[in-house]
């Protein structure tokens, strides 16, 4: 998992409440053999005018110009603004995989569905909770300002606008620690890489036949 300490990036606004995971990534894409590659089908039903199937060349599909992420000014966005109960519905981990693959590392919303919220942390996405009033303000500024960016400082637990206004947010200590250090469960085991290497060195002497190349 890639670590997240600070991020300054373009902001895209998704002004809808109760966005469920089937909208984030429709079920027909779950047959895939990959955890990556879901980016082109993120928000598939909204993004395209024609129905999508796995294996299609999504680059040739008819794009819905009305959908906010299709607007040129939001291309390359790293931070997604969302509304209440973002990520409700099924527990599919494909939802955070799709958001990540598209390029989002940070989501800011007033509230999230539980499982999705968890899944985000397991995949290196930071879901920030800010009060509805602050969200209204951020949505308004994003829409009013082409190229609108936000800066996120995880260690300081702050979101800062380009005008210098800043908002604090809460986060569980252990989750913060894992994100700051880029640690998933594998990452945590790799913290003991020294122990693993020491073990290997000892075993190479004790039982060298286990290390034949």
């Amino acid at each position: 998992m890639e670590k997240l300490t600070t991020l300054t990036g373009l902001v895209a606004p998704l002004d809808r409440a109760n966005v469920d995971t089937d909208q984030i990534i429709p079920k027909q894409y779950l047959k895939a053999i990959h955890r990556t590659g879901f980016g082109p089908t993120l928000f598939d039903d909204w993004r395209y005018l024609d129905p999508g199937e796995p294996g299609m060349d999504h680059g040739t599909r008819r794009v819905n110009p009305e959908f906010v992420l299709n607007q040129p000014r939001y291309q390359g966005a790293r931070i997604l603004l969302a509304r209440e109960n973002f990520g409700c519905g099924s527990s599919r981990e494909h939802a955070p995989w799709a958001l990540l693959d598209y390029g989002f590392r940070v989501i800011i919303a007033p509230s999230y569905a539980d499982i999705f919220f968890n899944n985000c942390f397991n995949n290196g996405i930071l879901p920030i909770v800010l009060p509805a009033a602050v969200m209204d303000k951020l949505f308004a500024e994003t829409l009013a300002t082409p190229g609108y960016q936000l800066s996120v400082d995880l260690a300081a637990q702050r979101v800062t606008t380009s005008s210098g206004e800043s908002f604090g947010f809460e986060i569980d200590e252990f989750r913060k620690y894992k994100l700051l250090n880029g640690l998933d469960d594998i990452g945590l085991s790799l913290q003991h890489a020294g122990d693993i290497k020491a073990y290997e060195a000892r075993r190479r002497v004790e039982a060298p036949w286990l290390f034949l190349e």
């Binding site: 955890r35 085991s189 060298p208 036949w209």
Partner: protein
């Protein structure tokens, strides 16, 4: 302090003990196949991680591969994609793979020991529950999930909690015609499919020691059907002779050193087990499963049991449901059950000794007219080659059996080999779950000799009467 075999294997692999009682356990060998690995490799890419120790891994494609002519490749696009993905991942990460055209390709649990990639004293994992097979060599081997596959690829370790120790001792000698498969089916019939939950099982006793290493693999293979993630047998001279000269086995001085270490791979005489089950070998007859769980098994000379005589209401209900699915009447003699198809193969029973046992029965005989198809699917390309050198393929084809290319085949019907709804099969595989061999298919688990005999007779027969 005296230790069990499991204690010794575990202790030798603890890298680090965590505060919550879990351990970081070192993995000597990971075996990789196409079904459970794609998202693990993808996870590595996503996190920009490399494989910790490439040479500790060995891959092959088995679940999706066709068992018929392979010159056209795999026609089913979903299956083909999974196999192609494995090839690409192994190439990208530098992992040795026995690819589809390679003579060493085969079922992952057959090729590991065959190549000497599974050695006594190792920890062995694979994203497949039948990894317990490898415990037959005096190794600690267990199946894992895809996230653990990724963890093992990235760290050469897993975070694990130790299981309890169980000894299943099969005392005395089995009678003629009774095989490793019958022993393990009888064990599962005795302790049930949940009997080994939370335990690592060591199989011991005179009857287990008398088995060949291949026979011990058959027994350990089905430890998971008894609920235990790991099954194992102490290493002995047979183990050493089995390993000698194999591709990845140590040679020269290293061999001598290794053999000395392997002689310690047994439970100490006064080692403590949390549970001990003793089974008298003499009482074990050839087994046939009659239901939809491996514990629903009985002797070939018995009758289909009557749910009405079961006092436990939950069990009674389960038996009735199983009989309905299997299309069987309580009280029917097992030998009166006719079969439509026969499958000899799977990681339980597709090694050379299994094929020899089937060939002894098939020799000079013919498939019964009511049997539509008999598939013989060797466990690996090398097993196939060996069998052909011994002329076994000729015996099978003369009997009207089909001689196929290696793979999982009709064990789980992920490729084109499958049962049609309602078809009844004598199968040497390990699971008789509803739909396992094809939707609506009915599976009876038996030994290779019993399967071959059913193919010839058209119904189950007591193979002991033929010898």
């Amino acid at each position: 302090m005296s230790k069990t075999l499991y204690d010794k294997l575990w202790d030798a692999h603890v890298v680090r003990q965590h505060d919550d009682g879990s351990c970081l356990l070192y993995i000597d060998r990971q075996l990789v196949h196409e079904v459970t690995s794609p998202q693990a490799f993808d996870g590595l890419r996503l996190a920009r991680r490399d494989v910790w120790r490439r040479t500790a891994n060995l891959a092959t494609a088995d679940h999706n591969v066709p068992t018929t002519d392979r010159s056209q490749g795999i026609t089913d696009p979903v299956s083909r994609l999974q196999v192609d993905t494995l090839d690409d991942n192994c190439d990208e990460f530098g992992i040795t793979e026995f690819k589809m055209g390679d003579i060493r390709q085969g079922i992952v649990h057959v090729i590991g020991p065959e190549a000497g990639a599974t050695l006594p004293g190792m920890t062995v994992v694979c994203g497949d529950s039948h990894t317990s097979t490898h415990g037959a060599l005096g190794a600690l081997a267990f199946g894992i999930g895809t996230s653990e596959v990724e963890h093992a690829l990235a760290t050469q370790c897993l975070v694990q909690k130790k299981s309890k120790n169980m000894l299943v001792s099969v005392d005395g000698a089995v009678g003629p015609g009774v095989t490793a498969k019958d022993i393990v089916l009888a064990i599962i019939g005795e302790i049930g499919t949940a009997g080994g939950n939370g335990y690592a099982i060591e199989f011991g006793g005179e009857a287990i020691r008398a088995l060949s290493v291949e026979g011990r693999m058959t027994v350990c293979n089905m430890a998971i059907e008894a609920g235990a993630r790991a099954g194992m047998v102490a290493a002995d001279e047979k183990t050493v002779e089995y390993v000698r000269g194999r591709t990845y086995a140590p040679k020269g001085d290293l061999w001598e050193k290794a053999v000395m270490a392997w002689r310690e791979l047994h439970s100490d005489a006064d080692a403590k087990f949390d549970r001990v089950v003793r089974i008298a070998a003499a009482g074990i007859k050839p087994q046939v499963s009659w239901g939809t769980s491996p514990e629903m098994v009985t002797a070939v000379d018995a009758r289909v049991p009557d749910p009405a005589r079961e006092s436990d209401p939950v069990k009674r209900e389960g038996m009735a449901r199983a009989l309905k699915y299997m299309g069987l009447q309580a009280g029917t003699p097992i030998t009166a059950i006719e079969v439509d198809k026969v499958f000899i193969g799977s990681c339980t029973n597709s090694r050379i000794e299994d094929l020899r046992a089937a060939a002894v029965v098939a020799k000079g005989r013919k498939k019964a007219a009511n049997v539509k198809q008999v598939l013989i699917v060797p466990g690996s390309g090398l097993v196939k080659q060996q069998a052909e050198q011994e002329g076994l393929d000729k015996i099978f084809t003369a009997a009207g059996f089909e001689w196929r290319e290696p793979g999982c085949s009709m064990c789980l019907a992920m490729n084109a080999d499958r049962l049609e709804p309602g078809e009844r099969c004598a199968s040497t595989s390990n699971r008789n779950f509803e739909g396992r061999q094809g939707a609506g298919g009915r599976t009876h688990l038996v030994s290779p000799a019993m399967a071959a005999a059913a193919a010839v007779a058209g119904h189950f027969v007591d193979v002991r009467e033929w010898e």
